[in-house]
């Protein structure tokens, strides 16, 4: 028994020597990469995605931001957020600070439940806890509520934590793996478009940098003519490289969102966003 224990401890100690970077190291490398790639872009500006690296589309985006369509979603979301459930309680009862100004804390790893909790997941769990039916994950009321909650958090800085728990680290690593793994008929990884080829054109689209991505979700896309959640876009992106999409709020996408948002630590919430 003592021998086994000693062996086990030796193995645990040996693992870091095998060269697995810590999340902090990953984050540092990530930021350095984009700094070198786009030397003219200040760190804070990455929240504006492709508009931080392309003046022409930035001008059009600013015209839309004059009176963006997502304002309709924020109003709708506010109404939904404040409307009591059948049992008389409201969403405020499920969140810290009554659900106001908290977007920057999601997703987080719940060490009790042992899973990643995204904002949309928390919204639906709140509903279930209060006897209400779940909302659909990708668009509609959940996107409006998420938009309102993001809006109340504008300016707050993302500070996603990875607790000292192997399950949390495993979720982070799973997300990181998804980000860098080639998939689909087109055999491309998220990193291919949004890291290594960020700023290049794919047909007539300019590829946005992954740094800052999650700060502007949920997002009103001109293409959708409406508001959609992060996992709606994840599914769409997977399908665009002709890979099968995972279900919204699946463990895989929650892990991806966990990693993806962590990579935007230090940047400000600016959701809901308006994009093409």
């Amino acid at each position: 028994m003592k021998k086994l224990l000693a062996l086990a401890i030796a193995c645990l100690v040996a693992v870091p020597l095998v060269g697995m970077a810590t999340p902090q190291q990953d984050l540092s490398e990530f930021r350095d990469y984009y700094k070198q790639r786009f030397p003219g872009t200040p760190f804070e500006d990455y929240i504006n995605g492709v508009y931080s690296i392309d003046p022409a589309s930035r001008e059009q985006w600013q015209e839309i931001e004059e009176f963006p369509p997502y304002e309709l979603n924020i109003s709708a979301g506010e109404e939904l957020f404040n409307k009591p459930f059948a049992n008389g309680k409201t969403y405020a009862s499920c969140f810290e600070n009554g659900g106001i100004g908290i977007r920057q804390n999601y997703p987080y790893f719940d060490t009790e439940l042992g899973e990643v909790i995204t904002l949309e997941l928390a919204i639906n769990r709140c509903r279930e806890a209060n006897g209400e039916k779940q909302l659909k994950w990708k668009r509609g009321p959940i996107a409006d509520i998420s938009a309102y909650m993001a809006y109340t958090s504008r300016g707050k800085i993302f500070d996603i934590k990875i607790p000292d728990d192997p399950r949390a680290l495993a979720a982070y690593e799973r997300g990181k793996k998804h980000f860098y793994q080639k998939r689909g008929q087109l055999n491309m990884a998220c990193a291919d478009c949004h890291k290594f080829y960020a700023g290049n054109m794919v047909r007539a689209d300019l590829l946005s940098p992954a740094l800052g991505h999650l700060t502007h979700f949920p997002v009103y896309r001109s293409k959708w003519g409406g508001m959609g959640t992060t996992h709606r876009r994840y599914g769409g992106c997977n399908e665009q490289v002709r890979a099968k999409a995972y279900p919204a709020q699946s463990e895989e996408y929650r892990a991806l969102e966990y990693f993806h948002t962590y990579m935007s630590n230090g940047l400000a919430v600016n959701g809901p966003g308006a994009r093409k």
């Binding site: 022409a56 589309s57 001008e59 059009q60 985006w61 015209e63 839309i64 478009c193 054109m201 794919v202 047909r203 007539a204 689209d205 590829l207 001109s222 293409k223 003519g225 769409g236 992106c237 665009q240 093409k276």
Partner: protein, 156 residues
């Protein structure tokens, strides 16, 4: 702009015939302010649309009209357009997208209190010209700009 003039002189006879078949709303100098003329929005050609909505298809180029539109539309479904003019007595503005199935996107009837300024967002089917037509003192003036509409790579 000269090429447009030549085009209109060439097609004048065609328009003459088309005008009588379009029906009501044509050549009527006083239209009810605000009335929606369906024929204008159903017209599949620019001249027909202008005739039905503004009562004439003869317009001269004017650089007193400022048309703000992107060189390359980020998304053809939402193209920001702003029309302003350094001109007096404007009572109508029309915005045309020549590549659309029905080129007339909208018309604006301005009372004398209005400033010559309209801003909106239009759908463009494909790369084509956006033409802003302004009616002042009974005459039509225009300016146009080509807007490129592309097929994106990310499902745009």
């Amino acid at each position: 702009m000269n090429s447009l003039r030549r085009k209109f002189i060439k097609t004048a006879t065609f328009v003459g015939v088309a005008a009588t078949t379009i029906g009501t709303g044509v050549l009527i100098p006083q239209r009810v302010l605000g009335a929606y003329v369906k024929a204008a929005f159903d017209a599949k050609d620019v001249n027909g649309a202008l005739m039905a909505s503004l009562g004439s298809d003869q317009h001269s180029a004017s650089d007193a009209i400022k048309l703000k539109a992107p060189d390359i539309a980020e998304n053809g479904a939402v193209v920001p357009i702003t029309v302003s003019a350094d001109m007096g007595n404007i009572d109508s503005i029309a915005i045309i997208s020549t590549g659309n199935v029905s080129p007339l996107t909208s018309t604006y009837n301005l009372t004398p209190a209005c400033e010559p300024f309209i801003s909106t967002r239009i759908k463009m089917a494909k790369t084509s010209d956006v033409i802003a037509v302004v009616k002042a003192d009974g005459k039509l003036y225009s300016t146009s700009k080509e807007v490129k509409v592309t097929i994106g790579g990310c499902g745009g």
